[in-house]
């Protein structure tokens, strides 16, 4: 029997990380921006049927970049986690923090144990209650690394440049239109064409809404909003 070649664990991890990063950087980017009434999520996504941004629970949204089937699996797992928890305790007990931790555990396990790591990054966003608590934005990477971000977050292809743009241009207390402008401009930093409503998927966690805060901005409305910007 031939002996398998020895590969150092360090090398294995490095190869896996490189593989995952390559897959993610090929994908299109997503940004999340806090604004006055909640959190705005903007994704570059030419499909109107296959979503990258979705509702998880009353105040929690999910966004994923990378391989569709992989982040879709994570999304459904998140909905299940949230619904079971909310049903067995109460709706108010479902938190983005617990969910982000679960994602971090899952991605970490997959990264170390499976041959092929998930080529995804996800954002878990929770909009605050009216009573002054803070919005929460968690960014979870392909290897289970978890970061909490403030004011804005970006992930996907060329996200470093997008993040830099957001850092230079973000201000606190933006209204919805200003946040949308910022988000769309940030996504345009890495390309040489203008993005229209056909290239974008936009949703908000709107604090002023009753119970379920998640709301998609339909293409017609988006068209209107974007034409006002010009």
């Amino acid at each position: 029997m031939p002996l398998p070649y020895y590969v150092s664990p360090e090398q294995i991890m490095k190869d896996k990380a490189e593989y995952a990063r390559k897959g993610i950087s090929r994908g299109k980017a997503i940004v999340a921006i806090e604004y006055r009434d909640g959190v705005l999520l903007v994704a570059e996504n030419p499909s109107t049927l296959l979503h990258k941004i979705s509702e998880i629970y009353d105040r929690i949204a999910f966004a994923g970049v990378g391989k569709y089937n992989e982040f879709e699996n994570l999304r459904v797992a998140g909905v299940r986690h949230a619904d079971v928890k909310g049903y067995s305790y109460s709706r108010g007990d479902v938190s983005a923090k617990a969910l982000a931790n679960a994602y971090s555990q899952a991605l970490g396990n997959i990264f170390t144990q499976d041959i092929k790591p998930f080529e995804v990054e996800v954002l878990v966003v929770e909009v605050s209650d009216v009573n002054g608590s803070k919005n929460e934005i968690y960014h979870i990477l392909y290897d289970g690394t978890i970061e909490d971000e403030k004011n804005y977050a970006a992930m996907g292809g060329q996200s470093d440049e997008i993040r830099r743009y957001l850092k230079d241009n973000y201000q606190e207390g933006l209204d919805f239109a200003a946040a949308l402008t910022l988000g769309v401009r940030a996504l345009m930093v890495t390309q040489n064409k203008a993005l229209t409503e056909r290239d974008l998927e936009v949703a908000v966690l709107d604090r002023s809404k009753e119970r379920r805060k998640f709301r998609r901005i339909p293409p017609e409305v988006l068209h209107q909003l974007l034409s006002n910007l010009k």
Binding site: H51, S54, E55, V76, V79, R80, D83, V84, Y87, S88
Partner: protein, 269 residues
């Protein structure tokens, strides 16, 4: 093995059902689940029962209404219980029977619909919702045999057909669609008798509200378990309106006005 493992995704229909998820992950949370069976011949427990709920069709959709009393034998258990629940934006469930299990079922049903909507990215059809509720009532059958009967009515706006529709159920989960109106619970028969005389096809919203409230007052008149409007304490029947544009409460002032109007008419008799 009949199928190889990639085929699994095609046969797993339950992935968008919350009740099926609970059955796998936490079966103790499902209605009808009992750790220990009650011994044969044991007296049924005295527990609160919800009494009268009704639904009727009108021009723009359906109206659901219920009294606010829960009864425990000949005693009043609660005066302000809510029996009509929003199950999603376009449908509602009215509970009659053992109040505890019925409310639990309503909550499970709400979660089921929301879960489906989130996982699949679209709403279940009204027909699908009605069938799903029937399956949940069937799950409760072992408890129904012990006296904890739950028989809701379900009504909603069918977006595909563009009309309001309503469904009644029996304890085995049998689902029957009613074309005009239905009432369930201890005062259900009296409310149905009243609706039978007053109901007209394609009534306006105002007429339909009055007919619904009158039926509840008739039920409270005849049935011990059903609570009438209590204007002194400000306890009014709950009335919900479901149309194309969603599920809404009939405003309290309006309900109070119709209650007073019906009772004033009676006074003169």
């Amino acid at each position: 093995m009949l199928e190889s493992h990639w085929q699994h995704a095609f046969f797993d229909y339950s992935s968008s059902s919350f009740a099926d998820l609970l059955r796998q992950s936490s079966p103790h949370l499902l209605p009808g689940h009992r750790e220990q069976p009650t011994p044969d011949g044991a007296e049924p427990l005295a527990i609160p029962h919800g009494t009268t709920v009704l639904a009727l069709r009108y021009r723009d959709g359906v109206i659901m209404a219920g009294d606010r009393q829960a009864s425990e034998g000949y005693q009043v258990a609660h005066r302000r219980i809510e029996k009509i629940f929003k199950s999603d934006d376009l449908s509602g469930i009215g509970i009659a029977g053992a109040a505890g299990p019925a409310m639990e079922m309503a909550r499970l049903f709400q979660t089921e619909l929301e879960h489906y909507e989130k996982v699949e990215g679209e709403n279940l059809s009204l027909e699908g919702k009605a069938n799903r509720l029937g399956q949940m009532i069937r799950m409760n059958l072992p408890m129904a045999m012990q006296g904890l009967v739950v028989v809701p009515i379900f009504a909603g706006f069918d977006e595909r057909a563009g009309v309001g529709r309503l469904f009644k159920y029996d304890v085995t989960g049998g689902r029957y669609e009613e074309t005009d109106y239905f009432a369930q619970g201890s005062g259900g028969k009296d409310a149905r008798d009243s609706l039978k005389k007053r109901f007209r096809r394609d009534m306006s919203r105002d007429d339909a509200l009055r007919v619904a409230i009158e039926a509840l007052i008739d039920a409270a008149d005849e049935d011990l378990g059903t609570g009438g409007p209590d204007l002194l304490r400000g306890i009014l029947p709950s009335v919900k309106i479901i149309t194309r544009s969603g599920f809404s409460d009939a405003p309290d002032e309006e309900v109070r006005r119709y209650c007073e109007a019906v009772m004033n008419d009676r006074e003169r008799l």
